[in-house]
């Protein structure tokens, strides 16, 4: 039986538990000797929680440990003696045997896997049945226990509410667990990477070519400076040269000049730019913008111009960020007290003078914070650069030449065929850690700036 069906059965048992417990509580209620402490439905929830939670917890643990137990049992069987001692090869044969056990028509498998298939299938189904039986027993036992505890003076409500409160707390802890998971996994894999490659080589080396790694000195071809430069150049320079003026000017126009009708229509239109998936931008950049940029470069007199220029990726990325900058600027312009604007206009300044001399300077901290957040967005952006930027790591100031970024290299390193422990794969995690730390710093600085700015006007 598959896991989902089992979960449904357990939920069904929970429903039965709920109904039984409520019926029992209602009978006490009608008996009328003593008033019920809790509502009948609360007794129902109490029984349902007992019926559902223990078997689900058990299944979660079981699904984590049972594959290992299945493996051990198979490897102990004499039929498995022919399996290779190499873990990688053995796992591949076992995976194929499992596929054959599930679908006898699967073609193109190892003959050993075909012989082992019945054994694998039988062992797996035996453990699956053990799990199912124990879960069912747990559900019945715990449900029965809960139902026997129902008495008029039983405090079902406090119990249910305490459980619910625990659930709420656990749910909110998942955010911390995720952050911790990100940090620990990136940090751990990076530590292993820095066991192969000295950290100084990685952070300050200027040569990046992971395709050819010298086994004796892997650090020589894993210097990430060209990637940092490319990321900065595409995300923080070219993209911002597009996003800041366009985003700021659109925000100014839509808040200060546009009629309410224009504003009502144009604001959602601009926000649609933020809703377009990045893979679509990437496709557009690679197919339409990049060839146009190449032609432009040829016009300028470079017949060998790259069709994967930094400019194409940066331009499209900038357009993607426009609504982000625009809405941040919008918010901070709206937060400037009206008195300042009215005062400036009353002194005879034109609207544009009011904006550029009063509103924008007053809103500057908010705008700066918005720009910092936009930069953190841009350097973390992946699909546009994966599809439109080049893989060649060069340090260049010419936007028509190719440049590569951290995110593009992470994808390239991890989607090739490589074993999990090579310095090449681990390098992706070191790049990820760098990216994580930099975006985190940008966000913290941006939030600091916003906080300071808010205090200035309240």
């Amino acid at each position: 039986m598959n896991g989902f069906a089992l979960c449904f059965v357990i939920l069904g048992l929970g429903l039965i538990g709920w109904l039984t417990a409520r019926a029992r509580a209602l009978r006490f209620d009608r008996g009328g000797r003593k008033r019920l402490h809790s509502l009948p439905a609360q007794h129902g929830w109490y029984a349902a929680a007992w019926t559902v939670l223990p078997p689900l917890l058990f299944l979660a643990v079981w699904s984590a440990i049972s594959p290992g137990m299945v493996r051990q049992t198979i490897l102990r069987n004499p039929a498995a003696a022919q399996l290779s001692d190499f873990a990688f090869e053995r796992d591949s044969v076992l995976a194929q045997a499992r596929a054959v056990a599930e679908n006898p028509y699967a073609g193109d498998v190892d003959p050993l896997a075909r012989r082992l298939a019945p054994l694998v299938g039988a062992t797996r189904s035996r453990y699956a049945w053990i799990g199912t039986l124990v879960a069912a027993l747990l559900a019945f036992a715990a449900g029965a226990y809960a139902i026997t505890r129902i008495r008029p003076d039983f405090r079902a409500r406090s119990q249910v509410e305490r459980t619910l409160m625990m659930t709420l707390l656990v749910a909110s802890l998942i955010a911390i667990l995720t952050t911790l998971g990100i940090f620990v996994s990136l940090f751990w894999e990076s530590l292993r990477f820095f066991g192969h490659v000295p950290i100084t080589d990685f952070l300050f080396g200027t040569h990046w070519s992971p395709q050819v790694i010298d086994a004796k000195d892997p650090g020589a071809s894993l210097g990430a400076v060209p990637l940092f430069w490319g990321t900065f150049f595409i995300g923080a320079v070219i993209a911002m040269l597009v996003a800041i003026p366009f985003g700021l000017m659109s925000a100014v126009y839509l808040t200060q000049y546009a009629s309410p009708t224009t504003r009502r229509w144009m604001k959602p239109t601009l926000e649609m730019l933020a809703g377009v998936p990045t893979v679509v931008y990437g496709y557009f950049a690679a197919l339409t913008v990049a060839p146009a940029m190449r032609q432009f470069a040829v016009l300028l007199g470079d017949p060998y111009a790259s069709s994967e220029s930094a400019l194409a990726a940066g331009l499209v990325m900038g357009v993607m960020i426009i609504p982000f900058v625009s809405s941040m600027a919008d918010d901070s312009l709206a937060a400037v007290p009206t008195a300042m604007r009215d005062g400036s206009l009353a002194m005879g300044a034109t609207t544009s003078e009011t904006i550029s001399k009063v509103l924008v300077p007053a809103a500057l901290p908010g705008v700066v914070a918005g720009v910092l957040l936009a930069v953190s967005r841009a350097i973390g952006e992946t699909m546009i650069v994966v599809m439109a930027a080049s893989g060649a790591a060069t340090i260049t100031l010419n936007p028509l030449e190719s440049a590569t970024t951290v995110t593009k290299q992470i994808v390239d390193l991890l989607t090739g065929e490589a074993e999990f422990d090579s310095p090449k794969t681990l390098a992706a995690f070191a790049l990820g850690l760098t990216l994580f730390v930099i975006t985190l710093l940008l966000n913290i600085v941006a939030l600091r700036v916003v906080k300071k700015y808010r205090e200035a006007y309240e």
Binding site: G68, R71, F420
Partner: protein, 413 residues
């Protein structure tokens, strides 16, 4: 003085034009992007088919009837030489280069027809088979003059049929651009989104309730808030690295290797990863919605004897639901368009059969778009754009629903 004022007014007009220009250019870019996709993609929804007369009996094609009802029917038909029979029929019907006019996958259409109605084996019949990419391009006006002449000849003979490309909506990935479809990817997306929703929605809403209604002001709560705000700004690719290391990695604890927690390339691992990614979005939106419910509602409920849990679950939560749902839909739309983390956890496989469950290898629509965009064949350009149009339509519908919900159920207190 007059000149100075004129100059200032001119500057004012210039500034205004600049602002309007920024808005118009941004909107124009959006328009240009959509226009490009529609211009390239509309042909992806149409199909060119050739009416192929074929007589399998006369061609000496034999296959045991009894095997047609077994799961091995595909194998039986293939080994009996159905592909050659179709190519021969094409040569005799369309001329010496007939085999190049039909798609390489054309024989699978006949295979399906034979399995549906074995009587085809006995008599002459006309089957509509997909035309090859080269033929399709020539019909669109690109290609060699010889091919264009052939196209014109067959069109005069009435053998070319154009229609809506149902294959595109019902099939999965293939190496032949004529035979590809998005159903496999769409199904993968649906399964992934189901997992994402089942995890992110309850966890997000419950933690929003805890933080907004019950959390004591202490260091722990601050830590939770800080991590949620940071998670919302972490680049999506980092979540892919997290999924790769935590859900697909192996650990060695005490000499025993604990295998990958979840199967690779499956909607399950993709859904969990995306759930972690959009959870902060849902938490933040839900907190804002819960904050918007006025305290008087809570006081009234407490006043008539409700417990703190009852206040929230019976009164505050139903009132905050429209806002929570709007935030959830926006988060789900973001997850649906996400590509990068899924590339890292292996959802970029070449998937020919749609996944049947959440543990089968699968791909999702954005990743399918990415994979097709890498293909060299000219025919994939229009398929890629067509898939993009489908994705954009789904996203637009989701965002429209979010806006509708917000406008319909939003309460001003």
């Amino acid at each position: 003085m007059q000149r100075r004022i004129r100059r200032r007014y001119a500057a004012e007009r210039r500034f205004r034009v600049l602002g309007a220009g920024a808005v118009i250019l941004s909107a124009a870019f959006l328009g240009f992007l959509l226009f490009t996709m529609v211009a390239q993609g509309w042909r992806g929804f149409t199909t060119t088919e050739l009416a192929l007369p074929i007589d399998l009996h006369a061609a000496g094609f034999h296959v045991e009837r009894a095997r047609l009802n077994t799961p091995a029917a595909d194998l039986a038909l293939a080994s009996a030489g159905l592909e050659d029979a179709v190519e021969n029929a094409a040569t005799s019907a369309f001329g010496p280069d007939g085999a190049t006019l039909i798609a390489p996958s054309a024989w699978t259409v006949l295979r399906a027809a034979v399995k549906r109605d074995p009587a085809i084996l006995e008599r002459r019949t006309v089957v509509r088979v997909p035309a090859s990419t080269a033929f399709d391009r020539a019909l669109a006006g690109e290609g060699t003059p010889a091919m264009k002449a052939t196209v014109a000849r067959l069109q005069r003979a009435g053998m070319v049929v154009r229609g809506f490309n149902w294959t595109f909506l019902s099939e999965s990935d293939s190496t032949d651009p004529v035979a590809v479809g998005i159903w496999g990817a769409l199904k993968g997306s649906l399964l992934t989104m189901a997992i994402t929703f089942l995890i992110a929605f309850p966890v997000g809403v419950l933690s929003a309730i805890y933080l907004e209604e019950y959390a004591p002001k202490n260091r722990w709560t601050d830590l939770i808030e800080v991590s949620i705000n940071n998670l919302a700004a972490v680049p999506s690719i980092i979540f892919g690295l997290l999924g790769l290391a935590v859900f697909l990695g192996t650990w060695e604890i005490g000499g025993r290797v604990f295998g990958p927690m979840l199967p690779r390339s499956a909607p399950l691992v993709g859904g969990v990863t995306l759930a972690l990614m959009i959870m902060p979005v849902i938490v933040i939106a839900s907190r804002n919605a819960i904050k918007g419910v006025p305290p008087s509602i809570r006081d009234a409920a407490l006043g008539i004897g409700a417990s703190p849990i009852q206040v929230v679950f019976h009164h505050v939560l139903p009132l905050a639901m429209p806002g929570i749902l709007t935030g959830t839909i926006i988060g789900m739309a973001r997850a649906l368009g996400e590509t990068a983390p899924l590339l890292l956890i292996g959802m970029r496989a070449f998937i020919v059969t749609p996944p049947d469950g959440v543990t089968d290898p699968a791909t999702v629509l954005p990743v399918q778009i990415f994979l097709w965009s890498d293909e060299v064949s000219r025919g994939f350009v229009e398929k890629t754009s067509a898939a993009i149009l489908v994705l954009l339509a789904v996203l637009l519908a989701m965002n429209g629903l979010a806006i509708y919900l917000r406008n319909k159920f939003e309460t001003r207190w």
